[in-house]
Each structure stands twice: as structure tokens, then as C-alpha cells.
């Protein structure tokens, strides 16, 4: 069981949650209040959804040995686009048409951005970090262009359902995240697509020679990442009922990469673990929630994150493991010798 990639992430997640229990005995209790479930766990599950969606997309990108830095900007752009449609004054709550228009336009924009990134990486042959860096910078400019530099507040009631509504007593955003996750798992594990992605990540040239259309697989992965970030942007802007071109989804790309890496997918590409990513995202969100609930100043969050990144990376580094196990075996050997000598 300890060999499983999921083992350590789950241990970390459980211990973070248990630390909470220590400070707040009612941490795990879930109550029905106001016709829906409330409680810290529900809160974590609800708040994690944008990050979770983005991390799922990021997992597939990283599996192809790529990286998508533009997701934070896509979140901002998608939210800005939706706010552009439903944030205008004089939109009545009765008509659902603006809601669907907003969703269609936001998702459309996100897909377009994903297509752009994918085309740059797969067709022009630009390094993924660089290709997505362009939109990471320009994307925030575009988002501010859409919102005209203002923080647009959304008063349109139906839009709030996406990020703050409840369906069967559970936050609606959880259904969205679950649907995307199940879709991703089915597509990658029940069809050959997952294998193709891993193969392209492990060796693009060999995959091409083996008859895979590497370019299209890479393109598709970035489009999917854009889609996930777009949905994430919808949920985030709906949850806070506002679109902020400058700060929405700030550092999301870094958090998402962190979630993926914690989940056991290495940045070198190849094998990927969607379930690990989910746990990684949950770890990041619980960490944030814990830091707030225990009463540690929230500024510490970044330092803790830095330490977590470093530890996770060190554990994944073969060099570190080698040195570490050498120290352990050395200790064992000296112990044995110590017993044998007298």
C-alpha cells in the first residue's frame, strides 16, 4: 500500500484535517441549515472547485511534459466575459437567456485561448512555459479590457447559482467539478486517449514514429486545460458575484501546478494521476482553511506552501531518495555491526 502514489498525499490530507479536529472538535460535523448541508468539510469541498477544475486540466498538460501558465489569466478572462454579459445594469432576473449567453461566451473564449496555447506549442513548436507566458501576461490585460479596468459587480440572480447555489442540499459547483473529473477519468482511462497522452509525455518523437498524432494530442490537452480554467472562472466569479481582471485567479497557475505535483504526477511528463491531483488540490484548500481557522496569520500560508512544495519535490527527486535511503541503510548497517561485534 505504501508503494501507491496516493499513499503519502492521503496521509498528508488526513493529518491536516485531524489537526483541525484538535483545535475545533466540531470540525467534521455536517449540519443541515437553511435547507442545505453546512460545515467545514462542505466548505472546503465547495471552495476547492475552481482550483480542482484547473488542476485536472493542468494534470493532462503536465502529463505531456508541458505546462500551462495562463490558467490564472483564463480564470480572470472568463469571469470578465461573463460579467460583461450579466453584469450590465437592467438585466432582469426572469430571463435565463443572459445566463446561457454568458456561459457560452466565457467557455468559448476559454476554448479559444486553449486552442491558441495548443497551437503555439504543437504547431509553432514554442516551449510550453514561454507559449503560455504570453497569455499569462496579456490575458490579464484582456480581462481588464473587457471589464474596463473596473471590478464589475454582478447582481443578476440566476448567475449566482453556478458558484453559490445548491442542488439536492449540496453546493452546485461540486457537481460541476465532479462531472468534469468523471469525464476526464472516463476519457483517459476507458479510452486510449490517456495512454496516448502518457506516451507523448514520455517521448513525443517516439510516439510520432509509432504512428500517434502527437501534435493533435498536445493541442487537445491545452484546449481541455483552457476549458477547465474557463469553467473555474465562471464558478469563481459567480461565487463572489464580481469580476476582477487584475486579481481573479491570481497565483492559480502556481497552486494548480503544486496540486498536480503533490498528486504524484512529475513535471517530467509521462504517467499522470487524476485522483492524486484531486487530493493535492484538497490538501492546498484544507491548508488554507486550517490556517484561517486555527488563527495563524494568513500570511504564513505562503511560507507553509513553499515548505510543502519543497518537501514534495524532494520526495520525488530520485537523487534525494538515494541519499536518504543511503543514510538509512548506513544506520542499519552500523547497528547490525554494533550487535555483531561483541
Amino acid at each position: 500500500m505504501m508503494k501507491s502514489k496516493l499513499f503519502w498525499p492521503i496521509i498528508v490530507l488526513v493529518s491536516i484535517l485531524c489537526i483541525n479536529l484538535f483545535f475545533d472538535p466540531s470540525f467534521f460535523s455536517i449540519e443541515v441549515r437553511g435547507g442545505h448541508f453546512t460545515g467545514s468539510l462542505v466548505d472546503i469541498a465547495n471552495r476547492v472547485t475552481p482550483l480542482l477544475l484547473i488542476s485536472i486540466g493542468m494534470t493532462l498538460v503536465i502529463a505531456t511534459k508541458g505546462i500551462d501558465l495562463s490558467v490564472g489569466s483564463i480564470v480572470a478572462m472568463s469571469g470578465a466575459m461573463a460579467a460583461f454579459v450579466v453584469g450590465r445594469p437592467g438585466i432582469s432576473d426572469d430571463s435565463l437567456a443572459p445566463l446561457f449567453l454568458a456561459i457560452a461566451l466565457s467557455i468559448g473564449l476559454a476554448l479559444l485561448v486553449g486552442l491558441w496555447n495548443g497551437a503555439l506549442v504543437s504547431r509553432v513548436g514554442v516551449q510550453p512555459i514561454v507559449a503560455t507566458l504570453i497569455l499569462m501576461i496579456a490575458g490579464r490585460g484582456i480581462a481588464q479590457l473587457i471589464t474596463n479596468g473596473q471590478i464589475t459587480t454582478i447582481y443578476y440572480e440566476p448567475y449566482a447559482f453556478i458558484g453559490a447555489g445548491y442542488l439536492f442540499m449540496v453546493p452546485f459547483s461540486i457537481y460541476i467539478a465532479a462531472a468534469v473529473f468523471i469525464l476526464a477519468v472516463l476519457l483517459t482511462r476507458k479510452t486510449a486517449i490517456g495512454l496516448f497522452i502518457e506516451s507523448v509525455g514520455a517521448n513525443p518523437e517516439a510516439s510520432r514514429l509509432a504512428g500517434l498524432n502527437s501534435k493533435n494530442i498536445i493541442l487537445m490537452v491545452y484546449v481541455f486545460s483552457g476549458l477547465c480554467a474557463g469553467i473555474g472562472g465562471l464558478i469563481l466569479s459567480s461565487n463572489v458575484a464580481a469580476a476582477d481582471g487584475n486579481n481573479a485567479g491570481l497565483y492559480y497557475e502556481l497552486d494548480a501546478i503544486l496540486a498536480v505535483v503533490i498528486g504524484g504526477t512529475t513535471l517530467m511528463g509521462g504517467r499522470f494521476f487524476l485522483m492524486g491531483t484531486v487530493i493535492g488540490a484538497l490538501i492546498i484548500q484544507s491548508l488554507t482553511t486550517t490556517i484561517y481557522s486555527i488563527g495563524i496569520p494568513p500570511e504564513v500560508n505562503l511560507v507553509v506552501k513553499a515548505v510543502v512544495v519543497l518537501i514534495v519535490c524532494l520526495l520525488q527527486s530520485p537523487e534525494f531518495r538515494k541519499k536518504f535511503t543511503r543514510v538509512l541503510t548506513f544506520k542499519k548497517m552500523t547497528k547490525k555491526e554494533g550487535v555483531a561485534q561483541p
Binding site: 511534459k65 505546462i67 503555439l120 509553432v124 513548436g125 514554442v126 516551449q127 512555459i129 514561454v130 507559449a131 507566458l133 504570453i134 497569455l135 499569462m136 501576461i137 496579456a138 490575458g139 490579464r140 490585460g141 484582456i142 481588464q144 479590457l145 474596463n148 479596468g149 509525455g201 514520455a202 517521448n203 518523437e205 481582471g245 502556481l254 501546478i257 503544486l258 505535483v261 512529475t266 513535471l267 517530467m268 511528463g269 509521462g270 504517467r271 496569520p297 500570511e299 504564513v300 500560508n301 505562503l302 511560507v303 507553509v304 506552501k305 513553499a306 515548505v307 512544495v309 519543497l310 519535490c313 524532494l314 527527486s317 530520485p318 537523487e319 534525494f320
Partner: protein
């Protein structure tokens, strides 16, 4: 023949230079008062810290790595300096070396982690970004304004040049640039950086001190970031944990626009300076235009980045093609050839 080869090496930097001159000419033609010494000198005055950070970043990128932590290190340095000056009441003479040590130490640690555990620079410096920003917040959440006489002097001193003026920070930044060019051109360390960026495996096989060089590169970048932080503190006269948020992107953009290949192995310190000046001139034009909002800067930088990256791709493909016809070439072409020919078989990530 030799002069022709030199030209092909310098093409990216020449393009940057021409772009800068074109933009300046565009501004001069379009707006009154644009064509003045002071507008030009202000590009240096306002971006001195960016120039210093870009010098460090240039070395990192030439070696094939990346340093995401510079923005946070600038914030941390400004925070440490401000806190020591105001809350600790230390003299500027003690504060400045301590502040410079902050980034240098962090850079050294990151370099060690990258080298000894063979981790990707991207993820290690990402941890550095979080750590430095978090530490800056830990020092204080509030803005600390500085009223130390030395710092105020550095902020307000004006050195007249022609009919304009520059600040002391500009002089510091120009010294850093000169040192950077010297290191890149005339030291073993500098040549090693190019060799590592060209092809790390061949650098190892050639017996170059790859590990030491790599650690030094990140230490140097950390030092530059800290110095940039100090200059930034002179400029702002305050410490604030949110200072220089996202600045690492500007620095990377400036280096790329300056003609340094993000794949490593090729680039010039002087090019990065022009990269920074181009970012500066975009902002100046937007200010002069008056009606354009600030976010156009980001869009313009994005478009420029795109143009340069595509240009680099074309440039690499062209020189690779040239190589297949004519095997003999300069060091840099050799490195490119090695890069395209010998692909290290990576099966990592499968274990």
C-alpha cells in the same frame, strides 16, 4: 565569412535595438516633448531596478534555467531594509549588506537544491517565490515608510547629464550591466554558463564545473534581485510585502525581448537592457497617449513577447538548417547542432 557569422549571432539583439529605436522615433513623431533627453533618461531612472534584476535573469536563462523568485525577493529585500531601518533603527551601513545577503542566501539555497537534487528550476524557484513573499508578509503586513537620511538622499539625489538628470540608482544599474557584460564575455564562469545552456550533458562531459556554476548562477541572480530590491527601496522609499508583485514576468519578458533564447545557450546582457528599455518605452508611450489605459501595457508586452518568440523559433530553425549543410561553425552553432542531434533519452517520470 567571419563577419557574416558574427552577424547571424547578433541578429536577435539587432532586432531588439531596431525595435527600440523605431518605438522611440514613433513616440518622437507622434507627441510633442517626447524627443527630449529627460524622457530618454527617465527610462533608466524608472527602470533601474528592472535592469539590475534582468542582468541576473539573463544569466539564469542563458544557462537554460528560470528564476521565478525575483519579484518576491525584491519585496522581501525592501521589507527587510525598511523594517531594520525604521523598527530596528540600524544605520544604513549595516542595513545595506544585510539586505543584500537576503537574496544572495536564498539564491544560493535554491541553486543548491536545483543542483544536488536535480530538481527543475521552475518548481524550486516557485517555492522561492512563495517563501520570499511569505517571509515579507511575516515581517509586516503594513507599508513601512522610510525616513532614513541616507535612503532619502539616494532617492532624491540628481546627477545632471546634458540637459537632464539621472539618479544614483541609474549609476548602480549601469555598473551592474558593465559587470554583467564582463562576466559573460571575459570570465570562465561566463563561458561555462553558455556551455551549460547550450548542452548541459556535453558541458559535464567536457569536464566543466557544471554544479558549481549552476549554484553560482542562482546565487548571482539572487544577489541581483536583492540589489534590485534595494534600488527599488530607494525609488519607493518604503517597504511593502506587495511591492513588485508579478515583476518576475516583466523581467523574463524583458530578457526574452532582449534576444536571449529561452532554451538557453544564447543571449546578451546588453540585449536585456534594451528589453527593459522597450518595456519602459511602451509605458511612456501609453502615458503620453493619455487616453489609453494601463492594461494596454500588458497586452502590448504580450504581443511583443509573441513576436519575439516566433522570431526566435524561425531563427533557430534557420540556423539549424544552415548547420546541416555546413557542419563547421561557431561555438554557438555547434551547441545548437548538438542540441538538435543528440537528444538525451529521457525515460524519467516512469518510475
Amino acid at each position: 565569412m567571419k563577419s557574416l557569422k558574427l552577424k547571424s549571432q547578433h541578429v536577435p539583439v539587432m532586432v531588439t535595438l531596431i525595435l527600440f529605436l523605431t518605438m522611440f522615433a514613433f513616440g518622437a513623431l507622434r507627441y510633442d516633448n517626447f524627443f527630449s533627453t529627460q524622457v530618454f533618461l527617465n527610462l533608466f531612472v524608472n527602470n533601474a531596478f528592472l535592469i539590475i534584476a534582468a542582468v541576473g535573469m539573463t544569466f539564469v536563462i542563458i544557462s537554460g534555467g528560470i528564476d521565478l523568485s525575483v519579484g518576491s525577493v525584491i519585496a522581501l529585500t525592501s521589507m527587510v531594509a525598511a523594517s531594520l531601518l525604521q523598527d530596528g533603527q540600524f544605520s544604513a551601513l549595516t542595513v545595506i549588506p544585510i539586505s543584500l545577503l537576503v537574496g544572495t542566501t536564498l539564491g544560493f539555497i535554491m541553486g543548491c537544491v536545483i543542483h544536488f537534487f536535480n530538481l527543475q528550476p521552475f518548481i524550486v524557484t516557485l517555492a522561492g517565490l512563495f517563501l520570499a513573499r511569505g517571509l515579507a508578509y511575516l515581517v509586516s503586513i503594513e507599508t513601512i515608510s522610510i525616513n532614513n537620511p541616507f535612503f532619502s538622499y539616494m532617492a532624491s539625489a540628481r546627477i545632471p547629464i546634458l540637459d537632464g538628470f539621472i539618479s544614483i540608482s541609474v549609476i548602480i544599474s549601469l555598473i551592474v550591466v558593465a559587470l554583467g557584460i564582463f562576466i559573460a564575455k571575459s570570465t570562465k564562469f561566463g563561458r561555462n554558463i553558455y556551455a551549460i545552456g547550450g548542452n548541459e550533458q556535453s558541458a559535464v562531459l567536457m569536464g566543466l564545473p557544471v554544479g558549481r556554476t549552476k549554484i553560482l548562477i542562482y546565487t548571482l541572480s539572487g544577489f541581483c534581485a536583492s540589489l534590485a530590491g534595494l534600488v527599488f527601496t530607494f525609488y519607493m522609499l518604503s517597504g511593502y510585502a506587495l511591492h513588485a508583485n508579478g515583476l518576475e514576468l516583466d523581467v523574463i519578458a524583458a530578457v526574452v525581448i532582449g534576444g536571449t533564447l529561452l532554451t538557453g545557450g544564447m543571449g546578451y546582457v546588453a540585449g536585456s537592457v534594451f528589453g527593459v528599455l522597450i518595456l519602459g518605452i511602451i509605458q511612456t508611450i501609453i502615458v503620453f497617449e493619455g487616453t489609453l489605459s494601463s492594461w494596454w501595457t500588458k497586452i502590448a508586452v504580450g504581443v511583443l513577447l509573441l513576436a519575439f518568440i516566433v522570431f526566435q523559433r524561425v531563427f533557430i530553425t534557420l540556423s539549424e538548417n544552415k548547420n546541416t549543410i555546413k557542419p563547421s561553425g561557431t561555438n554557438e552553432q555547434e551547441a545548437l547542432k548538438l542540441k538538435s542531434g543528440v537528444k538525451p533519452g529521457t525515460t524519467a517520470g516512469r518510475g
